[in-house]
Symmetry: C2
Subunit: 480 residues, 2 copies
Amino acid sequence: MAQELFNIDKEKDFSEWYTEILKRADIADVRYPVKGFIAYHPYGNSAMKKIMRYLEDGLERTGHLEGRFPIFIPKSVFGKEAKHLAGFEEEVYWVNKAGLNNLEEPLVVRPTSETAMYPMFSLWIRSYSDLPMRIFQTLPVYRYETRATRPLIRSREIAWFNEAHTAHATAEDASKQMDVGRELYNELHHFLGVPYIEVKSPKWELFPGAAEAYEYFVRFPDGRFLESGSVNNLAQSFSKVYDVGFEGEDGERHYAYQTCYGVSERLLACTMSYHGDNKGLIFLPEIATIQVIIVPILFEGAKDDITKAANKIQKELWDNGIRAQVDNSDKRPGEKFYYWEMKGVPVRIELGPKDLEKKSVMTVRRDTGEKKSVKISGIKKELPKIFEKMSKDMRVGANDFMKKHITYARTMHEIEQGIKDKNAVYFGWCGLEKCAEDIEKGFAVTIIGEPQFPKPEKKLDSCASCGNKAKVVGVAVKDY
Amino acid sequence: MAQELFNIDKEKDFSEWYTEILKRADIADVRYPVKGFIAYHPYGNSAMKKIMRYLEDGLERTGHLEGRFPIFIPKSVFGKEAKHLAGFEEEVYWVNKAGLNNLEEPLVVRPTSETAMYPMFSLWIRSYSDLPMRIFQTLPVYRYETRATRPLIRSREIAWFNEAHTAHATAEDASKQMDVGRELYNELHHFLGVPYIEVKSPKWELFPGAAEAYEYFVRFPDGRFLESGSVNNLAQSFSKVYDVGFEGEDGERHYAYQTCYGVSERLLACTMSYHGDNKGLIFLPEIATIQVIIVPILFEGAKDDITKAANKIQKELWDNGIRAQVDNSDKRPGEKFYYWEMKGVPVRIELGPKDLEKKSVMTVRRDTGEKKSVKISGIKKELPKIFEKMSKDMRVGANDFMKKHITYARTMHEIEQGIKDKNAVYFGWCGLEKCAEDIEKGFAVTIIGEPQFPKPEKKLDSCASCGNKAKVVGVAVKDY
């Protein structure tokens, strides 16, 4: 049967586009028989894994080591940090039974790993010479979301989650580590080439137990923003509770200063949504599960030669680290083009009798449709160049796009208008929660914090709400 | 404080050696506050990850794709295959509560993923052209062990678990896939360089729901064997229950034939235990977290030059893909030598004033102690050669060692003696469970199956128990 053409207006019907593309492009399947849980198809899983691999490389380069900590946390251990417990107890899964036995103490299924890791940090850190300690892990976490779930965006199983946790001798060292975490996350968002805003979080939005935080919000095609990561300064709130201490150079015992930062599979949702178009996905070459799809154009008489040549090119590319596949199915070439465009494969190679005669192939970029004839002998050197150019082109627009979709507001009226026009508003803010509340309630928006990136480009002297002197700039957005 | 020297007789006091080395070498920490759960130190975790990466590469090379499936399975879905449920229900964790709500239907925390994956296979496979389907994942599984737990060997959280699941159009295709799985697992055991026996499992030992299985048993220094993996032919037992079907070329609907195979963190326990010695661990260079430790030998007057040279060598090696570190701590060189020997780092580089004068370093192999002076300019080319030689030497002995530790028995008495002498006995066997039981009860051993590797080298015509004609060769071992 011929596959139905994918053609959904991404800007106009983004919600439908998103739901359909996850299904049609074999990213994730929502039909798993537990509500809010999805199964990753290999095609989607592999792209997600490559995003995490990029981050893990960055973490290792900056001195983080990968550990592995248990999924279950005894209720009493989980509850030691009171705010943390209060923040999470309504959204954790509980294990009460094992085999045929009821457990004496219920176990929490980790919603995040502070309370699993820090009792071990307490044992592993003895003296200042053990510091800094920087550990990460990439393992699923679980949150019993009561809001509507949405694959990759709000799942009850966050199947891909990377969390880094650090401990330091001084508040200054922890503060410097915050800069490292922020740089990694800014890099990561640039790598994905998505429009985003980095904010310093309002105090009332802090992660349970945190003293300071920076958050990342990615703009989706419907204009709404999704939190894609956070970098938290925990100060000593956990170290005092979990006894993460050390003997200092002064011979005295001190509590460590800690930071933690995490991102999830939302990153995949972000990059797919921004880069896709009405025909489907467009993957960055670096994260594409299949980077090159070779489509043989078969004519009677030349079938065998072309198939053989296609397979040979595939093998040569694969052996040179390029993830190439041949579509040898029975479909017509046109159908294959549409199918692999929908799946977002960065480069298509067409190989017909005329190409073969000229010992060349036609390469077609998914993002621009740009065609280029390339000699078969030079293909393995040419493709990385095409990838590089394509990646650069796909990334370069994101920051400008973001800047163009921010309005600057001096008054409540300008906030209202800005939200209507562009969904994101920078405004002068006295910093009081009361004024933030007025704005949030007045226009059904969220004040996500003080923008760090992109930096405000206009001066905003007075609070848009109360008119008093502005202490900072705030950002109001429509969020998910 | 000076570190206490590690010196435990591995052959004589293996149990103590194992417990102590996990702790001292920073592999895993048993002090996690849930019984049977451990926290991996980064040093141990990284080695385990490299073992899995080796296997994953093999799986991908042979056409397996990596997916990701949820951890929770509704009780009703888990229980569809009756034998599977009966086999696992006493050893699974149950989630009964989420947030503040009691769940209508309890969720099983996966002990393995057949019942999570196959409902999706049922949806993903439509026609014969979708077959074969070969999917794997590397994610933890959970089993509420009632036996004594032991880190990496019998944990309630199997933190590293790789399971592959395949579906085929015919029994023949599934049978061929069994060969692929077995080859991958034999390769894996050779890669780890450990003495092991591959057996065809007795019918009564089959994985719940399996029709045929091959299992891998690694010999530990105390002579006992540990199951390290299994390859299972599921025939249609699951496909009929989970409706994993397809439209055949004949236009009719058929059930798929399935296989599955899995290995776990036990592989790390196996390779550490076999290759270690009384001074500690000896990692194969391929899986070593740190492959080279550079120890500067500092003398007054040359301190700065040596430290600078050591750091420069480290950077050069790291940039060339060699995992090298410098020990710049305050310890004396001798202390550093012992410490890194205990941690199993394959190669030590010593760099003192005389070495520096000669523009060379001294390399020392952890397994043999062999020393070799190498010019600094040639170090990045020389080290891979040392690694290769060392890996080969470490691996070559394992098969011979295994063969030497098998005895051949024709009678019950010879079985008894063989077990006493070498813990593993090949014997003639009529194939009846009754005879196996007599042997198992008589000598407190386990009949693990019919040996596939190493192949029996002697003829065994009659059953050691009943004296009737032997149909097969059996293996009796002391196991964990």
